[in-house]
């Protein structure tokens, strides 16, 4: 999980180290030192290389004939890059296909996350289509939702350890459901970390645009169990990440398994979503989020999961969209993930709330003309999937 305070690729890569701080995954933390092969990071290394060269280089040999012909497909270079370098590439691939606008009509702000595509031709036209729209709830609605925080605070005695661990590490909880580990599934983990970094950029931008206040700003009695992060409250970053992870892991498993539609299969998906829900609700227990923040975050995370998955295709033929209208969300309602998503068929529910005035709608549409997916993401997903395929004998 990305350090909530940084959006840079190094920051997100650095979190591999935090993954390493989680007990048995410690060996993976040493990835951070891979850049230097375990050489000491000091002037000693350079000096050693310099004097060593003097010792063995010998007189200059005129041109040796070597013509490394680069492949025309840059994807072939990806396996040779360090994960940190790949991270930069993936992040740009993702960010360059998105735009965010925030409108404020004076009533409530509306953030639109748009997917963009660049059309070929000399004019380099770009077009944009809505991906996720978030209409902010009103301040009065948030104030009403503070009612939930007092009862949820009673759960702090139960959840304190989870809350603390989940401030920096989410993936280990999913790894306790489906077998993931740096030694066993390194590219899956890279895929998930990449997705987290991508999502971080999006939800931070939306939070920034909507600028909604945190629970403790409404009452001196919230007294959260952890410091309230400095970014605004909606959508919940944890909810976004939790549901993004759950859905992507579920997609990986469904894709790899023999029988994706069996009843037993659906139990795995159900459990992954329960995990996501627990992570999201723990933030309300901690006193740093309203239930509605988790609703918005979950919708964003689920839709981004679909978007990222589609981006991994060679050509994209469909686009998922969702809209969350916070103004219509009933203040007495709590966060219930079942209203948003059905794991059996990996589908978001088409609407939630009142049918005539839903607070959520979602759907997928066929694209008029195919778009190019991201070759780099395609490579990454393939590598990840290869870690899930049943072995050939």
């Amino acid at each position: 999980m990305s350090n909530a305070e940084s959006g840079s690729p190094e920051g997100s890569f650095g979190s591999f180290g935090s993954f390493g701080s989680f007990g048995s995954f410690g060996s993976f933390g040493s990835f951070g030192s891979f850049g230097s092969f375990g050489l000491p990071a000091s002037p000693l290394a350079a000096e050693a290389l310099i004097t060593n060269r003097e010792g063995i280089v010998g007189p200059t040999i005129p041109f040796l004939d070597y013509d490394p012909r680069p492949s025309t497909d840059p994807v072939h270079g990806l396996p040779h890059f360090s994960p940190a370098v790949r991270a930069s590439i993936f992040l740009f691939e993702f960010a360059s296909r998105l735009a965010v606008t925030v409108k404020d009509d004076g009533e409530t702000p509306v953030a639109e996350v748009l997917s963009t595509s660049l059309h070929g031709g000399p004019k380099h036209r770009m077009s944009a289509e809505p991906l996720v729209t978030v209409v902010a709830p009103t301040i009065d609605q948030l104030r009403e939702q503070t009612k939930f925080l007092s009862a949820y605070a009673d759960l702090r005695q139960d959840r304190a350890r989870e809350i603390l661990v989940q401030t920096s590490a989410l993936i280990p909880f999913y790894a306790s459901i489906l077998y993931m580990d740096p030694g066993r599934t390194p590219h899956t983990l890279e895929f998930l970390q990449t997705a987290l970094s991508c999502a971080n950029m999006v939800y931070m931008r939306v939070k920034y645009g909507l600028a909604l206040p945190r629970p403790l700003q409404f009452s001196p009695q919230i007294q959260p169990a952890i410091p309230t992060p400095t970014h605004p409250t909606l959508p919940s970053g944890h909810a976004t990440e939790a549901f993004l992870l759950a859905r992507l892991i579920w997609k990986l498993r469904r894709h790899a398994t023999h029988n994706p539609d069996s009843r037993q299969e659906a139990t795995w998906g159900e459990m992954l979503m329960r995990q996501a829900s627990r992570i999201a609700i723990n933030r309300t227990v901690a006193g740093v989020h309203f239930p509605v923040d988790s609703v918005a975050g979950a919708i964003l995370g689920l839709t981004l999961a679909d978007f990222i998955w589609d981006l991994c295709d060679k050509t994209i033929q469909r686009r998922a969209t969702a809209e969350f209208d916070g103004r219509r969300f009933p203040v007495e309602d709590d966060f219930h993930w079942h209203a948003l998503y059905e794991p059996k068929d990996d589908e978001q529910k088409p609407w939630a709330g009142k049918k005539s005035q839903p607070w959520m709608t979602s759907g997928t549409k066929k694209l008029k003309s195919e778009e190019q997916g991201s070759a780099a993401f395609h490579w990454l997903r393939n590598r990840a999937l290869s870690e899930w395929e049943k072995p050939l004998n």
Partner: protein
């Protein structure tokens, strides 16, 4: 702090503690006092419920609710005395508790505050109408288990026989809105709501996907958890007392679920957090008992007779005279022992207060005095009450008992004498009452007279809170201070004692701490043995009035209940905390069951709030349900058709004696601590047998 006692004469109140609780400073109540609804027990003398309701309605319209556990026949009945739980507002309680009220009421025992949302006030008469419950035909072998406790996770897999089929036939949720949607099997109750098996099964179906039940969502849907209500939902925590106890009494793994063992559960109201009296659940307990007993009568054998029922109520308290005549023991007796009626048994824990220094045995005999140092703690958010029960038989030649109470700081004490209805109030420098000393005569419900010391809470947020001083209060119980002119006479009343108990403050596990237990701090109380371990029995020949003997659960002192102490599995010793007899009506508990695995591994494993894991809890609370489990099977296995004596006390004594000799290291613990013996009752909830 300047605090002075004043003799305020006759308060004109029947039950002094009820009067005290209704006269605290306004900051003690979450709302204006007159708006508050209470659950309370009204003692009606030669007055029917119908008559009483009429009179109360006339004086205070719309301020009283009669629970519908009392049907038309109950409401018309006019026995010499009946004690009924009603829900009423403060003005009604006040009037009914006044001497000479003219309503036919002989006093009110005040329970807890009831939030208005939990009452069916808004229901129209049509909405309140419901058809009489139909009988449930069941196997002749059927025995019903009824568990009353705090939050009980009725949807736990250990109470199901199939994924979406519950063995719970009624879940009475007392802390929930009384406003129920029109769903089959849901019923509003006077306090809260109930769900029958139909409703529970529907909830299970709705909230189960692919083998996983979302129990959080289910309990929110049922109203058993309310995150928006601002209150405390114990079922939201990973551990709850009620679920643990219910699983020991009647939990079975789904694939081993027994047939013909239906379960009825009642979850008592959670504490109303602003109630600073140290709240009292007894009126709600009686409602729950009545409700479950009535529901139990629906279960009929093929010949139409009502099947037997075993209740488990794992609460221990110190209130009452402990001679079987106390209000709750009498009412338990009435419900349980119906003579010709169907078989009902009640299992209660012995209590965990053996070492709590909350009981004193003040032998004031013919002359003499006994001094008690009462330590009232700082940061005690609830009032404290000390009940001093006078001997039942007083020798005609003896001087009456006097009690003198001095607050900390050496101020003068107040003295009250038995028989006097005068109330003494301790007032602080601002003239606000912070403690009260009052006398209550014996009544038709209670055989003994008592003197009660009520002390305000010692901490409060509001500047307007009238706080009592924390520290050492001195209670002196005496007859004559000067030496007797003649030598003391020895007759059968020698050693008549005043039995003193400090009311227990029921802070359940998981609840935020509210009260802090006042206790006796006499310097000659020996806490430890020669090795520094807590001494579980009074030193022989002790002169210290503070005793372990006699700490037995005040609820459990009637004839009928099966009272269970706790022992430690690894060494067979009775747990140090397990409360002891004798009390005036009992030598000790009836038997002992497993309460702790070992001296360092406390507690036993049983269900957590949600399905799929077990948690440890300790105490006589967890020992009792094992005996309930045993009693159910003993009744079912009893070959005599009437089963009149099945699993009664005599049977349990015989069973425990045999079991103790056969399975446990000898010698047997003394009766006052362990009853007739230790019983070994396996409970299979899926964990490896760790008995």
């Amino acid at each position: 702090m300047q605090a002075d006692w004043q003799d305020d004469g006759d308060a004109g109140a029947i039950d002094p503690v009820t009067d005290y609780r209704l006269t605290r400073d306004p900051s003690s109540y979450p709302r204006p006092l007159d708006e508050i609804w209470w659950a309370a027990i009204f003692h009606l003398e030669e007055t029917s419920l119908d008559e009483f309701r009429q009179r109360a309605e006339q004086a205070h319209p719309g301020q009283i609710l009669i629970p519908d556990v009392y049907d038309a026949a109950d409401c018309a009945a006019r026995p010499p005395l009946q004690s009924v739980t009603l829900i009423a507002r403060s003005p009604v309680v006040r009037t009914a508790n006044t001497v000479g009220n003219g309503w036919g009421c002989g006093g009110v025992y005040l329970g807890c505050m009831v939030p208005q949302a939990h009452l069916p006030l808004h229901l129209t008469p049509q909405e309140r109408e419901r058809p009489a419950p139909k009988p449930i035909k069941c196997d002749d072998d059927t025995v019903v288990t009824a568990v009353i406790d705090d939050a009980i996770g009725f949807a736990n897999a250990l109470f199901r026989d199939r994924e979406t089929s519950s063995r719970v036939h009624l879940a009475y949720i007392m802390s929930s809105a009384s406003d129920v949607p029109h769903r089959p099997g849901w019923r509003w109750e006077v306090q809260g709501r109930s769900l029958d098996k139909r409703a529970i099964d529907r909830l299970l179906k709705t909230h189960t996907s692919f083998g996983l039940t979302d129990e959080d969502a289910l309990y929110v849907d049922a109203g058993a958890i309310d995150f928006a209500g601002g209150g405390f939902s114990p079922l939201a925590l990973r551990e709850s007392h009620g679920t643990h106890v219910a699983a020991l009494a009647a939990g079975h793994q789904m694939h081993k679920a027994p047939k013909h063992r239906p379960l009825l559960v009642a979850s008592l109201p959670w504490r109303v957090t602003e109630d600073t009296s140290g709240f009292n659940l007894y009126p709600s307990l009686l409602l729950a008992l009545h409700r479950l007993e009535r529901e139990g009568r629906r279960f009929r054998r093929s010949d139409g007779t009502i099947v037997p029922m075993v209740f488990n109520f794992s609460y221990g308290t110190l209130d009452g005279p402990h001679d079987g005549s106390g209000l709750i023991p009498r009412l338990i007796q009435h419900i349980v022992d119906k003579g010709d009626g169907p078989v009902r048994r009640m299992v209660l824990p012995a209590g965990n207060t053996n070492l709590s220094r909350t009981h004193a045995h003040a032998e004031v005999g013919e002359t003499g005095s006994v001094a008690l140092d009462l330590k009232v703690l700082p940061d005690d958010r609830t009032d404290s009450h000390v009940e001093m029960w006078l001997p039942e038989i007083e020798h005609p030649g003896w001087d009456p008992v006097h009690v003198t109470v001095s607050p900390p700081g050496g101020r003068k004490g107040a003295t009250i004498v038995v028989g006097s209805r005068r109330v003494h109030r301790l007032r602080d420098g601002d003239g606000r009452e912070i403690a009260r000393l009052s006398y209550a005569p014996a009544t038709r419900t209670v055989n003994r007279a008592s003197i009660v010391l009520s002390v305000n809470r010692t901490v409060g947020f509001s500047g307007a809170a009238a706080l009592a001083p924390a520290g050492d209060w001195r209670i002196e119980i005496w007859r004559r201070r000067d030496g007797a002119a003649e030598p003391p006479r020895r007759d059968q009343h020698e050693g008549a004692a005043v039995e003193v108990w400090i009311r227990r403050d029921d802070t359940l596990p998981g609840f935020p701490p509210r009260g802090r237990q006042a206790h006796f701090n006499n310097p000659d109380y020996q806490k430890f043995d020669a090795y520094g371990a807590p001494l579980p029995v009074d030193p022989p020949g002790t002169h210290c009035p503070v005793r372990r003997a006699g700490t037995l659960n005040g609820l459990a002192t009637g004839e009928a209940p099966l009272v269970v102490a706790s022992f430690t599995g690894s060494n067979g010793l009775i747990s140090d905390y397990s409360a002891s007899g004798p009390v005036p009506s009992r030598k000790g508990p009836d038997a002992a069951a497993l309460g702790d695995q070992s001296p360092v591994l406390r507690g036993v494993l049983s269900a957590g709030s949600r399905s799929g894991y077990l948690v440890r809890q300790s105490g006589t609370s967890v020992a009792a349900p094992r005996v309930a489990r045993l009693a159910v099977e003993a009744i079912a296995g009893d070959k005599k058709k009437s089963r009149k004596k099945a699993a009664d006390r005599a049977w349990l004594h015989g069973y425990a004696e045999k079991s103790d000799k056969k399975h446990f290291p000898q010698p047997r613990p003394e009766f006052a601590r362990g009853g007739a013996g230790r019983v070994d009752i396996p409970v299979d909830l899926g964990a490896p047998d760790t008995d």
